[in-house]
Symmetry: C2
Subunit: 539 residues, 2 copies
C-alpha cells in the first residue's frame, strides 16, 4: 500500500497555545476529510518556534504536554506526527528533548528526538535540548519511516558541523520513506539551499523524503514554508511557499516555479510585517517619510501589507530639508491613496537649542545638532504612536546600520525594522522591483537622486562613505562571509577603506545592541544571529 501523507504547513504563534491547538485540530479535521492516512506537523509546532527561554519554564512545557495528551485520542482516526518539546527522563543531560511524537490508534507509538541541534547564527537549540542518544525508524500501517527533525538532514557538508549523521543509521533499517519535521527560517538563498539538501538526501538514501516546515513570522524570523515531497530522482512535488494548508504532495501536479530573489524578499517582508501586527493585536503603522528611498520602500511595503488606511506617514521637514523631498513624499502617498501629515520641526529645534544655549556657549555646531533633528523626529513619531496606538516602523537599511550612520534614539527608533537586513544597493533593487510590480508607485526621482540625510546644507551620503556598490560589497564580505582585513585586501579592496569601514562596523556595535529587531532575509542579519561584544577592541 501507499500512504497518503498530509503536510500541515501552518502559521503557529509562539506561546499561543489556544491558537496553535485550534490550528492543529482544524488541520486534523481537514486531513480526515481528505482521506489522509498520516498528518505531519512541523518541528515544535505545539509551542511555536523559536520559543527561546520560555522552554525553561516548567508550566510552559506542561502546556505542550497537555496539547499532546489532547491529541492522542484523535489518532484513532488518523496517524499524527507532531513536533513538541518533551522531557528527558534521564537525570543526566539537559532536561528537554526536541521531539517528533508519532501517535496512531489512540496511543503514542514513538517519541523520536532530534540528534543534531543547530547552535549557530539565530539558533540556540543546545541551550535547551539534549540530543537523541538512539536512532530508530517508526512504522505505520506496515510502512517503515525514517523520521528526523530539521538539522538531522543537514550534516552533508565537506566540513560537517557534527560528528554523526542520523540518516546513515536509520537507513540500515531499510525504511521505505523519510519524513522530516522542520523549523527552517527564510533567507533569500535558503529555499534553494534547502531543496539541494533534500535532493542530496533523497538521492543518497534512495527513498522519497516528505518535508514539512512552518510558515509565518515570529518577530525577526520569517518562515516561508516550502514543504514538499522529493523523490530519489530529484523530482519535487507539492512545493508551496508562503501559504497555510494541509498539502498532500503526491496529488499535486503543478509545475515548480521558484520565485525570484525579490519575489521571495517581497513576500517574506509582507508576511513579516503582517504577522508582527496580527500576532501582537495591532493593525495600524506609523513611519517617518523623508522623501528618501528607504522610507519610500518601507511605506509601500506597509501599504501592501496592512492597507493604505492603516499606514500613517509623517513628514517632518527641517530647514535643511529640500522642498523636493516633501513634494516626492506627498506624491508617493498620493500614488498609494494614503494618509499623511506634516510637522515642521524648526520651532522645536529652536526651543531645544535655546535650552542648551548656556551649556553650549561658544562651541561650534555640528553632529550634535544633526542628531537633535533626528531625535526630535523620533520623539514626535513616538508621541503620535502613543496617542493613536500606531506601531512605529523603522526605516533603516543594513548598510547604514553596519557603519553606524544612524542616530540612536532618533531614526534608529521603531518596533521593528523592515529593511535592516537589506544593503542600500538591495533597497534600490527592491524599489525597482516594487515599481515594476505596482506600476511606478514610487516617484522615479526618489530612486534616482543621490541619497542624503539632509541634516545640514548640501549633505550627501557619499561625502563620508565610499560609493554604495563598493561599501556594500565590502560589508557583505565582512559581515556575511566573515573575511578579515588581510583577506579583503587580497580581494582587491583598498586598505584605507577596509580599515576605516571595519572599524566603523565594530565601533557601532553599541548602536545595534539597542536597535529594533530586524526582519531577517539574508543568511547573516544583525540581531540575535550575530553576537558581538560592545566593549572590545578588534580591528
Amino acid at each position: 500500500m501507499t500512504l497518503k501523507i498530509g503536510l500541515a504547513q501552518l502559521n503557529f504563534h509562539v506561546g499561543n497555545f489556544t491558537s496553535n491547538y485550534n490550528k492543529i485540530l482544524d488541520a486534523i479535521n481537514t486531513a480526515i476529510n481528505q482521506g489522509i492516512d498520516l498528518i505531519v506537523f512541523p518541528e515544535l509546532a505545539v509551542c511555536g518556534y523559536p520559543a527561546w527561554d520560555f522552554l525553561e519554564f516548567k508550566e510552559f512545557v506542561d502546556d505542550c504536554e497537555s496539547i499532546i495528551n489532547n491529541l492522542i485520542p484523535l489518532s484513532t482516526k488518523i496517524g499524527i506526527i507532531i513536533g513538541s518539546p518533551t522531557r528527558n527522563p534521564n537525570l543526566e543531560g539537559k532536561n528537554l528533548h526536541n521531539s517528533a511524537i508519532f501517535m496512531s490508534e489512540g496511543k503514542v507509538n514513538n517519541v523520536i528526538h532530534k540528534h543534531l541541534l543547530p547552535t549557530y547564527d539565530v539558533f540556540d537549540e543546545y541551550r535547551y535540548f539534549e540530543p537523541a542518544n538512539l536512532t530508530q525508524c517508526v512504522e505505520f500501517k506496515g510502512i517503515k519511516i525514517a523520521l528526523t527533525i530539521c538539522e538531522d538532514l543537514w550534516n552533508l557538508d565537506d566540513d560537517p558541523l557534527y560528528t554523526t549523521n542520523p540518516m546513515d543509521l536509520l537507513i540500515k533499517e531499510n525504511p521505505e520513506i523519510a519524513i522530516n519535521l522542520a523549523a527552517s527560517p527564510f533567507s533569500f538563498t535558503h529555499p534553494e539551499d534547502r531543496l539541494k539538501v533534500l535532493k542530496r538526501n533523497a538521492h543518497k538514501y534512495q527513498i522519497p523524503f516528505y518535508y514539512v516546515n512552518h510558515v509565518g513570522a515570529q518577530t525577526e524570523l520569517i518562515f516561508d514554508g516550502g514543504s514538499c515531497l522529493i523523490y530519489p530522482d530529484g523530482q519535487i512535488k507539492g512545493l508551496s511557499y508562503f501559504s497555510e494548508g494541509v498539502f498532500s504532495p503526491e496529488n499535486e501536479n503543478k509545475a515548480l516555479e521558484m520565485p525570484s530573489k525579490y519575489d521571495f524578499i517581497y513576500q517574506a517582508l509582507i508576511l513579516g510585517i503582517q504577522d508582527y501586527f496580527k500576532k501582537l493585536g495591532f493593525s495600524k503603522a506609523i513611519l517617518g517619510l523623508s522623501g528618501g528611498i528607504d522610507s519610500a520602500v518601507v511605506y509601500v511595503l506597509l501599504v501592501k501589507a496592512l492597507g493604505a488606511d492603516n499606514v500613517f506617514a509623517i513628514e517632518m521637514p527641517s530647514p535643511y530639508t529640500s522642498s523636493i523631498s516633501n513634494t516626492l513624499a506627498q506624491e508617493l502617498v498620493n500614488n498609494c491613496s494614503g494618509k499623511e501629515s506634516m510637522i515642521e520641526i524648526k520651532s522645536i529645534m529652536e526651543s531645544i537649542e535655546k535650552s542648551l544655549e548656556n551649556l553650549f556657549y561658544g562651541l561650534p555646531k555640528g553632529l550634535t545638532e544633526e542628531n537633535i533633528q533626528s531625535r526630535i523626529r523620533g520623539l514626535l513619531l513616538m508621541a503620535i504612536s502613543n496617542k493613536f496606538g500606531n506601531i512605529l516602523v523603522n526605516t533603516s537599511n543594513k548598510s547604514e546600520m553596519a557603519v553606524g550612520y544612524s542616530t540612536l534614539y532618533g531614526d534608529s527608533n521603531g518596533a521593528f525594522s523592515v529593511l535592516g537586513d537589506l544593503y542600500k544597493t538591495e533597497v534600490y533593487e527592491l524599489a525597482q522591483y516594487l515599481n515594476q510590480k505596482f506600476d511606478g508607485l514610487i516617484p522615479e526621482l526618489i530612486i534616482t537622486r543621490p541619497p542624503s540625510a539632509e541634516l545640514r546644507p548640501d549633505q550627501k551620503d557619499s561625502d563620508s562613505l565610499p560609493e554604495y556598490d563598493i561599501l556594500d560589497k565590502l560589508l557583505y564580505n565582512y559581515i556575511e562571509l566573515k573575511k578579515g582585513p588581510l583577506e579583503l585586501e587580497s580581494m582587491g579592496f583598498e586598505k584605507s577603506i577596509i580599515d576605516r569601514i571595519l572599524s566603523l562596523v565594530n565601533k557601532s556595535e553599541f548602536k545595534r545592541f539597542q536597535a529594533p529587531p530586524i526582519l531577517r532575509v539574508s543568511n547573516k542579519a544583525f540581531g540575535v544571529g550575530r553576537r558581538l561584544p560592545i566593549v572590545a577592541k578588534y580591528l
Copy 2:
C-alpha cells in the same frame, strides 16, 4: 618536589591582542622573578572572554595562534598553561576547541580541550566549540596534573546538565594536583557557589585544586577573580577578589574573609563602570539626576568609579517636578563636590505640544505627554553627551525594566545600565550600604520619600504597582526561579497580581530588546542571558 604555581588573575580585553599579550608577558616576567615553576592563565586569556562571534573570523583565531607561538620560546624559563581557542584538526564537528595549552622547555607539550561547554544563560560555548573527545593528564617536572577548563568541574549536581564528568576519568591516572582555567563571571551568589564546587571537587578527588579566573568587566559581564588553591580538607589559600596579579597561593597566609552581598555588588559595579570607560577609551560620564533614589545611587557609584570631576549631573525639572527633588539632587552633588547643571524642560514641552496641537486636537492628555517629558530628557542628555563626549549612563532598575515602567528612547537611554540587575528593594539596600560606607553622602530624604516618576501631578509608583517588597519577590520568582503562575499562586501570591505582573513582564519584552547592556550582578539579568521572543503570546 612541590611545584610553585602562579595564578595569573588578569584583566584581559576582548580582541585587544596587543594589550593582552603585554599583560601575559609582564605576568611571565613577574613569575620568573618570583621563582615560580608554572604560571597558569585563565580560560581563553589570549583573546579575552567572551569573544562571541569574533571566534568565527579566521583572522581572529590566527591572532590567537600568533600569541601562542610567541609564548612558546619563553617556556624554556618557566612552565606556562594558557587558555586559547585552537583549531579542531578533524573535519567533523565544530572548527574550534576551547583549549588549555601547556608549554614547557620551549615546546607545546599538550593541548587539552574543554569537555563541558556551558550553553545557558549568558553562555554560548557550543555555538563555537567542539567538546573534547579525549581525556588525559599532563605532566610537569614529574608531577601529574589533572588539567580542566571551568565548566568541566561543574557537573556535580543532582540533576547534572551533562552526561560525562571529565574529572572521573582524569582521576584514574592518579594526578597529584588539579588545575582549572576559568572564565566565571560574577553574580553576588557566585563566589560562594564557586567555592562550594571547588571544595566538593577537592574533597571528592582528594587532591589540591588550583583555580584561576579572569578579573575585569567585558560590557555586561563582570569577572571578580576569586583565584585560589583549595585542599581536600576544605582549606582555601590565596583567595583574592577584584585585583590583578600573579598569585602564588601556597605562600599566602591571609585569613579568608568573604565580602558581604553589597560589598561584592559595590566592587563589581565599580569595576563594571571603570572597565566600560577605560576599555572604550572614555573618561567622562553624564546622567540625569532626578532627586529620586535610582539616579542618586548611580551618581554616587559613578563618582566613586570615575572621580567627581568626571561625572556631569543634569537636572531637568518639568512643571510636575517638586522643588524638593531639585534641592535633594543639588544637595547630593554638593556632598560629592560634583558638577551639575539644570535645564528646565517646560519650554520644550510647550513647543512640542504646539507642533502636535492640530494632530492631537480634542484628545485628552495622558501617557503620551508623560512619555514626551521623559524623551525630552533623553534627547537633552544625548545632545550634551554628543557635544562633550560624556557617556550617558542609564539609571533604570530591574523592577521597572521588568514591568516596562520606563519610557523607550527616554529614561531607558544610556550606553549601559548600572542598576538594571538590581530590584528596587535592592537599590534601597545599596543606598543604605553606600551611606554607611561614605558617611551619609545620599540625603536621607532621597531614601525615605515615596518613589515617583513625577510625570503628572501627585504621581506615585504605588498608584499602579504593588508595593515593591511584594512586586520584587514576585519578579524574583518569575525571572530568576522561572516559576509559572500556578506555582506562584501556590506560594501565596494573589492570582490577580500574578496575572497582571507576569503579563506586564512578557509584554515589555520589546522595550528590553532595545535597552542598554546591563551590568550583571545576579544569576539572571535581562540581556544576553535571558532570551525571550517579542511577538509571542504567553501568560
